[in-house]
Symmetry: C2
Subunit: 324 residues, 2 copies
């Protein structure tokens, strides 16, 4: 069995060696730029790990590994337009480097390219792969739509936030695993357990992202930090702080989250002081741990040797302790 490091290296190489340049140049240059910005290649890695878990024939999982990474990057191109994010992994985002039209059209094309990679799989697997792929991306869109809806609402509940990140982040991680499992001809029940594992590590992953956005820095994180606070994002941290704060702190929180016209530094300091007082970093980490535990319970039920599950266990642990 391959180690997680070996699989990670294969995942990275598989993406890196793909050439996305083609004609028309104005369409494919932004795609090539987006696809070669490095990154952890988590989704391809998950597809390969799922394949390794059930069969070890990872060659068969490579088309879906590329497909899911292209699909993920397509969502980033469009999200960055909607969120007006200037940077990603420390580099200009596509709409910022090129323009909005390029980011829209190159993004659309990436969705098709992702389908094309998927279609390289064995013919008999294609209906199941397409079903999983399509359901996964629809859930991501649902998550993004709820995320946008929440910006306009002042009554977002914590359960709603968790459901949103389950869709926006969890669904694609879970789909990556399931796609790999399909290529390994896994048992239907085992695939469902694995999917559920993916959803829960996805929620834990996003909670960690919220923590890092608040308490990390640009150099480590590769993204501008403090954006959630600056943009009044109703993350778990904010929603929980509203629940726990006394009357005065609640007023401070709602005042600062009612506008983006405050001095960024002043606002960040004021909010973080309240988060600190309420012990929110620890509370968020504890919730992360709960979702990690759920993921582990699900993994436990999969009918293969525990030995084979070690990679996924250490993957989940790494996610919990990452700083970027």
């Amino acid at each position: 069995m391959r180690t997680i490091e070996e699989l990670q290296e294969i995942a990275i190489k598989t993406i890196e060696q793909e050439n996305f340049l083609a004609s028309p140049k104005n369409l494919y240059e932004p795609i090539d730029y987006a696809m070669h910005q490095g990154g952890k290649r988590i989704r391809p890695l998950l597809a390969l790990m799922a394949s390794e878990l059930f069969s070890g024939d990872i060659e068969k999982a490579k088309p879906v590994a590329i497909a899911i990474e292209v699909l993920h990057n397509f969502t980033l191109l469009h999200d960055d337009i909607m969120d007006k994010s200037p940077l990603r992994r420390g580099k200009p985002t596509v709409y910022n480097k090129y323009d909005t039209s390029a980011a829209i059209l190159s993004g659309d094309t990436m969705y098709s390219l992702a389908c094309k990679y998927l279609l390289r799989s064995e013919t008999k697997l294609i209906p199941d792969l397409m079903e999983c792929f399509t359901q996964g991306i629809i859930e991501v869109f649902h998550g993004q739509a709820y995320d946008m809806e929440f910006e306009e609402r002042n009554d977002v509940r914590i359960e709603e936030y968790i459901e949103m990140i389950r869709l926006k982040t969890g669904a694609l991680l879970a789909s990556a695993l399931k796609l790999g499992a399909i290529t390994a001809l896994a048992d239907k029940k085992d695939m469902d357990y694995l999917y559920n594992f993916g959803l829960n590590i996805g929620i834990a992953f996003q909670l960690q992202d919220d923590i890092l956005d608040c308490w990390s820095n640009l150099e480590d994180f590769g993204k501008v930090t403090g954006t959630d606070i600056a943009d009044n994002k109703k993350t778990f941290l904010y929603l929980k702080s509203l629940e726990l704060a006394d009357k005065d702190d609640k007023e401070v929180l709602t005042k600062y989250f009612s506008s983006t016209n405050f001095d960024k530094k002043e606002k960040e300091d004021a909010i973080k002081a309240i988060y600190h007082k309420l012990n929110l970093k620890q509370i968020a980490q504890q919730l992360m741990q709960e979702y990690n535990n759920k993921a582990m319970e699900s993994l436990d039920k999969i009918g293969v040797d525990n030995q084979r599950k070690q990679n996924l266990i250490s993957f989940a642990n790494k996610l919990m302790h990452r700083n970027k």
Copy 2:
């Protein structure tokens, strides 16, 4: 055999009775709005006609008929952002009625919904259907990218323009036919002839669109007319006029097409006077006829009774003589 009018009615009803409303509302409302703006439902009709041509079992073609219409409307949502078009079929475009983010995300979701409709087809057909579908939409994106590239270039050749509209308009019409043919289990060679028929009527269709944009009016056409001239679009009319004009007229043409700051009416009148002098409406109509002839030659080669081809022949004739 059903008449073209019967098939058209079925195509329209099939789309009209689909309900696109679901949660999240902010995602599906723009989709429902876009899908229920009426329209000729040409692509579903083509899918049904192809099915009728080979088998007559049009129930099997309905999922692909809906899929191709949803896919087409997805491209319109995104094109309207890129082209800054305020109106479509006389109504506000999605990005104009809602906002750019809604048009991006609802458009993306429509691509996935189109895949979902496709996946309702018989399992054994899905790999071929997905292959056709994916190739078709990639060509549309290529066409749109060339269209954008041409805006920046002053040396676009007429062949390049024809290739662009073959991709941007022809590919999806041809794909609609081929998808219908796949569900009717048509012979591979016949499908290629039918595909080729679709490409050529697509080119004729777009040439007619260019003519209508120039010589029709808002009430008939349902879109703001004269936009090609106002936006310096390098249509066949413009490219051919440059080829035929004398030195003075060429100067007028290039002067007006170098900026969008001219008075719209003054510019339109000046350009149309030159088009009229050069007989461009007739020249464009003649070229349309040539592509129509090519389409007919291709249709002729398909190995089914001529009787069964009558619907496609009258469809092509109608396209040639439409005023909207």
